[in-house]
Symmetry: C2
């Protein structure tokens, strides 16, 4: 039972107009796992260096996250340094040190191969596919990617996308991937390549889900305090896939609820630095915000 | 019964990547009136020049729009020339010739002073207030403005806002007006200056309504074909105020439905050049799209 997530675990150094933090826990797999851990079991596949402290292993485990495939290798942990301007919309990468992550070749343990839900975080599409090939037969394969792979490994990415059920990317990536400025036409193009469903993340503007049967649009939760958008996309994916894995549904109604749970987790995540807010949530808070989302978006028939 | 709208009637010349049109009917009062005319009676207060053809008076009248206060003055009609890039998000103004509009001093006819609904299109805030002072006691005063007045007549604008019930502006204007980058905090600041309700237009990202009791967010209708965003904001306002005037409701549920009707009218408007689509709509098409909006945005409780 549960989700296998493959991605990065990193130390982030983040500068925003509201403060700076040095070498805090980050990475796509960290944010995804923490968000998903409120819904179901999570098994993390990633690599860290010798400098990665035991306390973070313990932190993950306390959240019910299985770290048996979080390998510690000779060398240093992946480090990312980024800066946000006053609008907090786009991160400027100041420095990336891949360190042990540059040789990451995920090997899936036998006891993980039968997991039903797989999230392929934003890594080399060839590695994403190698993970997929090691799995028995997941019910749902969800996947993220980024402009770097769209530009540098377009063919490998297309091969991976042909095997994916649910693609979760942002609006700029959607347009770039399809080479089409209209978002809806871009989405239709991508849906022709394999994914049954595309979820487009739009930051402070919410999310849009498209498949052959349905379009669903959700605004972002309106927040008066946004401190650090790092990990918002992975928290969103963690809430989304976490909810699907916990409930077993994959129909349109389940996907809609899942997207709202994703939006809920992203909204909590950005309201404090790093993983601080995801570390201390309670499930009743999550459910309460889900219901606030309904009050935010619903209106009567005529 | 009905709405009094004060604003501009103009000839627009529009260049987009999908084509160019010269000197077509435009202006805030034109778009607003056409959109609102599907819901209720509209009385237009504006000025045009001697070059404004009779066929446009007839066109308005055929739509049930009262043109008795659409004055024809010596001189030429207001002209605007603008250009949109491939993303269609922001217009670049190439040329503005105010012509007869530069001396516009709206005088409200006695038979219009008792109208219950007033829309103050984007004109000089001192003129907006002079219109308000000529009215008996409207049930609802809705108002638009723009960055030019925020920057050049901030005090006159604040005086006008103190008399307005419903302010309908875009997100950049909201932030600039409140001098606050966070949209929700900016909205709260503006609500402290007089308006009971603020509606923030976000273009392709939809709209957000805020008042002291409620927040409502609606995505824009996803469109595969967007040709010309000119007039989208005024079509939105026309649908919104038109629906409120037609039904008489001003409670939270009515405002939510009104915002969706505004979004419906804006989505139709941008799908063809100029006022072409608004000229040929049917009310069943409007209702059908309202219901599509519900399918787009609704999700089940947990």
């Amino acid at each position: 039972m549960g989700i296998l997530v493959v991605g990065s675990v990193a130390f982030d150094s983040i500068q925003t107009p509201f403060g700076s933090h040095e070498e805090i826990l980050g990475g796509s797999a960290s944010y995804f796992s923490l968000a998903a851990s409120y819904f179901t079991d999570v098994h993390i596949v990633a690599v860290v260096g010798e400098d990665f402290p035991d306390k973070y292993f313990e932190f993950f485990q306390k959240k019910g996250i299985d770290t048996s495939a979080l390998g510690r290798e000779k060398g240093k942990t992946f480090r990312w340094k980024g800066e946000y301007g006053f609008d907090l919309n786009t991160a400027k990468t100041l420095r990336t040190d891949l360190n042990v992550f540059s040789d990451f070749a995920p090997k899936i343990r036998p006891e993980h191969r039968n997991l039903d839900y797989l999230f392929l975080g934003n890594i080399d599409p060839d590695l994403q596919r190698s993970v997929l090939e090691q799995m028995a037969r997941p019910r749902l394969v969800a996947c993220d990617t980024m402009n770097y792979w769209i530009e540098h490994k377009p063919e490998a990415l297309r091969r991976t996308l042909s095997l994916v059920d649910l693609l979760i990317i942002n609006d700029a990536e959607t347009r770039e991937l399809a080479r089409e400025p209209n978002l809806i036409r871009a989405a239709r193009t991508i849906l022709g390549w394999g994914p049954q469903t595309l979820v487009v993340k739009r930051g402070e503007y919410g999310a849009l889900m498209m498949n052959s049967k349905s379009i669903f649009g959700a605004p972002a939760f309106p927040l008066e305090e946004v401190y650090d958008p790092t990990g918002a996309g992975d928290s969103f994916a963690g809430g989304l896939v976490g909810y699907l894995a916990a409930t077993g549904g994959l129909d349109d109604a389940a996907l809609r609820r899942a997207i709202v749970f994703g939006s809920v987790m992203a909204s909590f995540n950005v309201s404090e630095f790093g993983t601080n807010r995801l570390a201390e949530l309670t499930y009743p808070e999550i459910e309460a915000r889900y219901r606030e989302f309904r009050r935010l978006t619903h209106f009567d028939d005529i």
